[in-house]
C-alpha cells in the first residue's frame, strides 16, 4: 500500500513537471501558433542553469556556487527566457515547418554543447550532486514534499498563464495565430506578440527542467533527447492544444501511457517473453496514441471559443 502510494506520488510529481513544460508549449503553439520543436533545448537550459548554480565544484566542471534552491529556480527561468529571446529574435521571420526545424536544430545544438562543453556541463558524465530540496527528509516525506513543490509550481504556472490567455492580450494572440495579415491590419504588432509569447512560454520549460534536475539530483545530456520533445508535444495534442486544463490533463494521460504501459507489459506478458516486452510496449503506446487521436481528434479538451471571461461558450451555436 505504502509502496503504491509512494509510486503514485512519484508519478504525479513527474507528470506535474512535464505539465509545466506542456503549459509553456501551449502558450507558444496553442495560443500563438508557433511550432517550437525544440522544447528539450529550453528544458536543458533550465536544468543546467539550476545545476551549475547549485552543484558543488567538481574537477571536470565549474561549480560550487551554492545558490539557494528558490533563487536558482528563478535564475533558471530567467536564463531560459533570455536564451528564448535570442532564439526568438533570430527565428522571428520563420513560420510553421521552418520554425519547427530551426528550433529542433537549436535544441540538437544545445544537446551537442552539453555533451561537448565539458568544462561547464561535465560532458557526457553530466553533473551530479545537484541541490535537492527536502533531501534530508525520509524518502516518502521527501516524495510528498517535492510533490507539493511541483504541484505548487504547476498550479502557479497554470493560474498565471490562464489569466494571460483569458485576457485581451490572449485574445489578440489568438487573432495573430488565426490570421497575421488581418491582425496586423487591425493594429496588432505581430512580431512583438509572437516574440513575447515565445519567451513567456519558454520560461516554464526552463522551470520544468530545473525542477527535474532538483528532483533527480543529476543531469546529463541523455536527459534531454529529442524524444522528450515528442512526448511533450504528444501531451499537448492529446490533451487539446489551446486549452490549459487540457494541456495538464494530456500530460498526465500521456505520461501514464508511456510509463504505465511498461507496467501493463510486466503484468500481462509471460516471463519467458519479457524481452519482447519492449517492442510490445512500443506497439502498445503507438496503438493507444493513434486510437486516442482518432477518438478525440481535437484532444481530450478542445480549445475554448472565448478568451474574455465576460463571454460564455454557448453550446447551441458552437459547431
Amino acid at each position: 500500500m505504502m509502496g503504491t502510494l509512494s509510486y503514485l506520488v512519484f508519478f504525479v510529481t513527474v507528470a506535474s513537471l512535464f505539465a509545466i513544460a506542456t503549459l509553456g508549449l501551449n502558450l507558444q503553439w496553442g495560443f500563438s501558433g508557433q511550432f517550437n520543436a525544440g522544447v528539450v533545448g529550453f528544458m536543458a537550459i533550465g536544468a543546467y542553469t539550476y545545476a551549475a548554480l547549485t552543484a558543488p565544484a567538481q574537477h571536470e566542471h565549474v561549480g560550487g556556487l551554492d545558490w539557494p534552491v528558490i533563487a536558482a529556480l528563478v535564475a533558471a527561468m530567467a536564463v531560459t527566457a533570455l536564451v528564448a529571446l535570442a532564439i526568438g529574435l533570430v527565428t522571428i521571420r520563420l513560420r510553421t515547418d521552418y520554425l519547427a526545424l530551426a528550433t529542433f536544430g537549436i535544441a540538437a545544438a544545445i544537446n551537442h554543447l552539453a555533451l561537448n562543453l565539458e568544462g561547464i556541463t561535465g560532458g557526457g558524465r553530466g553533473i551530479a550532486g545537484i541541490a535537492k530540496p527536502f533531501a534530508d527528509l525520509p524518502p516518502l516525506w521527501f516524495g510528498l514534499a517535492f510533490l507539493a513543490l511541483a504541484a505548487g509550481a504547476l498550479l502557479a504556472v497554470y493560474l498565471l498563464l490562464e489569466r494571460l490567455v483569458r485576457s485581451p492580450w490572449g485574445r489578440a494572440l489568438r487573432a495573430v495565430r488565426e490570421d497575421e495579415v488581418a491582425a496586423a491590419a487591425l493594429g496588432k504588432d505581430v512580431d512583438r506578440m509572437r516574440l513575447t509569447a515565445f519567451v513567456i512560454g519558454a520560461a516554464p520549460m526552463g522551470l520544468s527542467g530545473a525542477l527535474y534536475a532538483a528532483f533527480i539530483g543529476y543531469v546529463s545530456p541523455y536527459d534531454f533527447l529529442a524524444i522528450l520533445t515528442f512526448q511533450i508535444w504528444a501531451m499537448l495534442i492529446v490533451g487539446g492544444s489551446g486549452n490549459n486544463a487540457g494541456a495538464v490533463l494530456g500530460s498526465f494521460v500521456v505520461w501514464a501511457l508511456w510509463s504505465l504501459s511498461g507496467i501493463v507489459v510486466v503484468l500481462i506478458v509471460p516471463t519467458k517473453l519479457q524481452v519482447q516486452g519492449g517492442a510490445i510496449q512500443a506497439i502498445l503506446i503507438g496503438l493507444l496514441l493513434v486510437a486516442m487521436l482518432i477518438f478525440r481528434p481535437r484532444g481530450l479538451m478542445g480549445e475554448r471559443l472565448h478568451s474574455s471571461p465576460l463571454l460564455r461558450d454557448d453550446a447551441a451555436v458552437r459547431h
Partner: protein, 297 residues
C-alpha cells in the same frame, strides 16, 4: 581531400535526397509531416530483404555493382508491399482522422504513433541485427583526382535524379498529379471539379510508399538495414525537405545534397563531434536569408 569530401557529400546526400522527395510529397499533398514515411522506407527495405532471403541472394553481381539482377525483383516486391502498407495505414488511421476534421498536428502525432507500431513490428519479425542484401564489401573505385567512389552510390545518385524527374512529371503533367494538388489545396473545390479526393489521396500514398520502398532499399544497399534506420534518417530527411522549401520536389533534392555536403565539409572547420549540428547551422543561415527555404513560395 576537398574533392573527396565534395563527392562524398553528394553521394551520401543522394540517398537523403531520395528519401526527402517522399517527405516533400507528403508535405505538399497530404499537408502534414509524415513521421511514418521513414518507417515506410524500413518496411520497403525489409520487404525486399525477405524476397532476397527467399531467393538466396541477389544473384551474380552485375558489372561494378555489389548486387545481382534479382535485386530488381526484390525491389518490385518491396514497392508493392510498401504501397499496400501505405494505403492500409491511410484507410485505418488517416482517413478516419480526416473525416473527423483533425488538424495537421494531430495527423503528425498519429503518424508518430503509427511509426512506433511499424518499427517495432519489423523489430519483432526481423530482430535487431543489421542485415544486408549482399555482404560483399564493395571496393571503392579510384577516379582521377584521387577521389574514391562506390559504384552503388553513383547508381543511387542516378536513381535520385530519375525519381525527381518522374515525380515532377507526375505532379505537373498528369491528370492524377493535378488532382492530387487540387485536393491538397482545397478539397471541397476539388470535389466540385468532379475529383474524388479519396482516390487522389490513395494515389499519393501509393506513390509515397513506392518512393519509400525505393529509398529504403537503396539505403539498405549502400549502408545497412536495421529496424531503426527509418527513425535515424528522419532528421536528415526533414532537414532536406524543409531546407529545399516545403513542397518543392527539386528543392528536396537540392536540400538533400546540401545536407550531405554540409556534413562532409563541416569537418574542415569543426570537430566531427559537432557534425550533426552543422546542417542545422547551414539551415538557419539559409532561413535567415530565405525564410521559406531555398525553393519555397
Amino acid at each position: 581531400m576537398i574533392a573527396q569530401l565534395v563527392i562524398d557529400g553528394l553521394l551520401t546526400g543522394a540517398v537523403i535526397a531520395l528519401g526527402a522527395i517522399g517527405i516533400t510529397l507528403g508535405l505538399a499533398i497530404l499537408r502534414f509531416a509524415n513521421f511514418g514515411y521513414a518507417e515506410l522506407m524500413t518496411v520497403g527495405g525489409y520487404a525486399a530483404l525477405t524476397a532476397v532471403l527467399a531467393y538466396g541472394g541477389t544473384g551474380a553481381p552485375l558489372g561494378p555493382f555489389s548486387f545481382g539482377g534479382f535485386l530488381a525483383v526484390a525491389l518490385a516486391v518491396g514497392l508493392v508491399v510498401t504501397a499496400l502498407v501505405a494505403v492500409a495505414s491511410d484507410v485505418v488511421v488517416f482517413r478516419p482522422l480526416r473525416r473527423r476534421g483533425a488538424g495537421p498536428l494531430v495527423l503528425i502525432f498519429a503518424s508518430f504513433g503509427l511509426a512506433l507500431v511499424l518499427r517495432h513490428v519489423v523489430l519483432l519479425i526481423f530482430g535487431t541485427q543489421p542485415e544486408y542484401y549482399s555482404r560483399e564489401i564493395q571496393m571503392a573505385v579510384l577516379l582521377p583526382g584521387d577521389v574514391r567512389v562506390m559504384p552503388d552510390q553513383l547508381l543511387v545518385l542516378a536513381i535520385t535524379v530519375l525519381a525527381l524527374v518522374a515525380l515532377w512529371w507526375l505532379l505537373n503533367h498528369t491528370r492524377m498529379g493535378l488532382a492530387m494538388r487540387a485536393v491538397a489545396e482545397n478539397t471541397p473545390l476539388a470535389r466540385a471539379c468532379a475529383i474524388d479526393p479519396e482516390m487522389a489521396i490513395r494515389w499519393t500514398w501509393i506513390v509515397s510508399g513506392a518512393l519509400g520502398a525505393l529509398a529504403g532499399t537503396l539505403f539498405g544497399l549502400t549502408v545497412q538495414l536495421r529496424p531503426e534506420m527509418g527513425a535515424n534518417l528522419l532528421l536528415p530527411l526533414f532537414t532536406a525537405a524543409v531546407l529545399g522549401g516545403v513542397g518543392s520536389i527539386p528543392g528536396a533534392v537540392i536540400g538533400g545534397l546540401l545536407v550531405g555536403l554540409a556534413e562532409n565539409l563541416s569537418v574542415l572547420v569543426l570537430p566531427t563531434s559537432y557534425k550533426a549540428t552543422v546542417p542545422f547551422l547551414i539551415m538557419l543561415a539559409c532561413f535567415l536569408l530565405r525564410p521559406k527555404g531555398l525553393f519555397g513560395k
